[in-house]
């Protein structure tokens, strides 16, 4: 926080926690643009696309992109970046609609894929 507004006696300090409300990072939006949905275990990756002229990635967009150079599940990304899940989803929606990020895999239905279930079973039994 800077004090360009001229107030000398701020009533908050560092211990008050972040002063910027989480959704200030999303300009107040609570849902991703374009109706995109990002499940907790969906895997995303940054594309090599450059930002379009009209889009200025903010610091949080850039942090997300740097963490998405390799495929990463949304829940790990959110944990890593330490922003609330809803905020991360909005930022992911921005990046996706600007072509800078892609969803590689998604799981919206109950799991019936026997191959995946077998992998889970084999994994657990090997522990």
């Amino acid at each position: 926080m800077t004090s360009h507004d001229g107030y000398q006696d701020r009533w908050f300090d560092r211990e008050a926690g972040p002063v910027v409300r989480p959704y200030a990072l999303t300009k107040g939006r609570t849902l991703p643009s374009g109706g995109a949905e990002f499940g907790l275990i969906d895997v995303v990756i940054a594309t090599s696309g450059r930002p379009p002229e009209h889009f200025r990635p903010g610091p949080e967009h850039r942090r997300i992109l740097s963490l998405c150079r390799r495929p990463i599940p949304v829940v790990d990304l959110t944990s890593e970046i330490d922003l609330p899940l809803g905020v991360v989803r909005v930022l992911l929606g921005d990046l996706t609609s600007e072509g800078m990020l892609r969803v590689l895999s998604t799981q919206k239905q109950p799991v019936t894929d026997q191959r995946l279930l077998r992998m889970v079973l084999d994994g657990l039994e090997s522990l």
Binding site: S79, S105, V120
Partner: protein, 206 residues
């Protein structure tokens, strides 16, 4: 402008990307039944920040008229993460126990393998809400009875009656602190889910 084929250009380096398979299992049950203990016994625990809508009461106090319907405050929760040598990553999500977190269940449940309902025989009614939820949503679940020290042991069939569970739902006894025991619980769930995969067969594997 680079040429941009409709798919196949996934990585910035242009090389093929292997997508790690992911799966999740829900760990449910009443408040304080040992969900976090169970998750921690078998997996790496990681933090997650999420949101909860402000309750009607607090909305009244804060007077958010004109601000929009979606007013939230952030809350912290944990999840478990197990990486297998196959590349698969399994996530364990504890469903929040308190009533005000019900809205999160659908988000956690989407695309899950299934659920473990953890039960404590001293407070058996605490897991009714979880069982109702999974029965309604059609998500396969098993019941794991956390056998605390000193807790009276019950036969699984007595628990089945107490919980009005169908004969197909597996009931296992466990110690949520013990890694091997938790492993057996998760294995039971996955085997059960595999057996119900055809949906037509209602095979009991107990």
């Amino acid at each position: 402008m680079d040429s941009n084929p409709s798919d196949g250009t996934l990585s910035s380096a242009g090389a093929a990307v292997s997508v790690p398979p992911t799966a999740k299992i829900l760990i449910s049950g009443g408040f304080g039944v040992g969900k976090t203990t169970l998750v921690g016994a078998i997996s790496e625990i990681r933090p997650l920040r999420t949101e909860e809508p402000m309750s009607d009461r607090s909305v009244g106090v804060d007077d958010t008229r004109g601000v929009g319907a979606k007013t939230t405050t952030t809350v912290a929760m944990d999840f478990g993460r197990i990486s297998f040598t196959s590349g698969l990553v399994l996530y364990l999500f504890g469903t929040p126990g308190q009533e005000r977190f019900w809205f999160m269940w659908d988000d956690l449940a989407v695309g899950a393998v299934g659920a473990v309902v953890l039960a404590d025989t001293r407070r058996i009614a605490d897991c009714f809400a979880s069982i109702d939820y999974f029965e309604r949503s059609g998500m396969p679940f098993i019941v794991a009875v956390n056998c605390f020290d000193g807790a009276q042991r019950f036969e699984p069939e007595d628990i089945r009656i107490a919980l009005s569970l169908g004969p197909e739902v597996p009931i296992v006894l466990c110690d949520a602190r013990n890694r091997d025991s938790v492993k057996k619980v998760l294995v039971s769930l996955v085997r059960y889910v595999m057996s119900t995969g055809s949906r037509a067969s209602r095979v009991s594997i107990a």
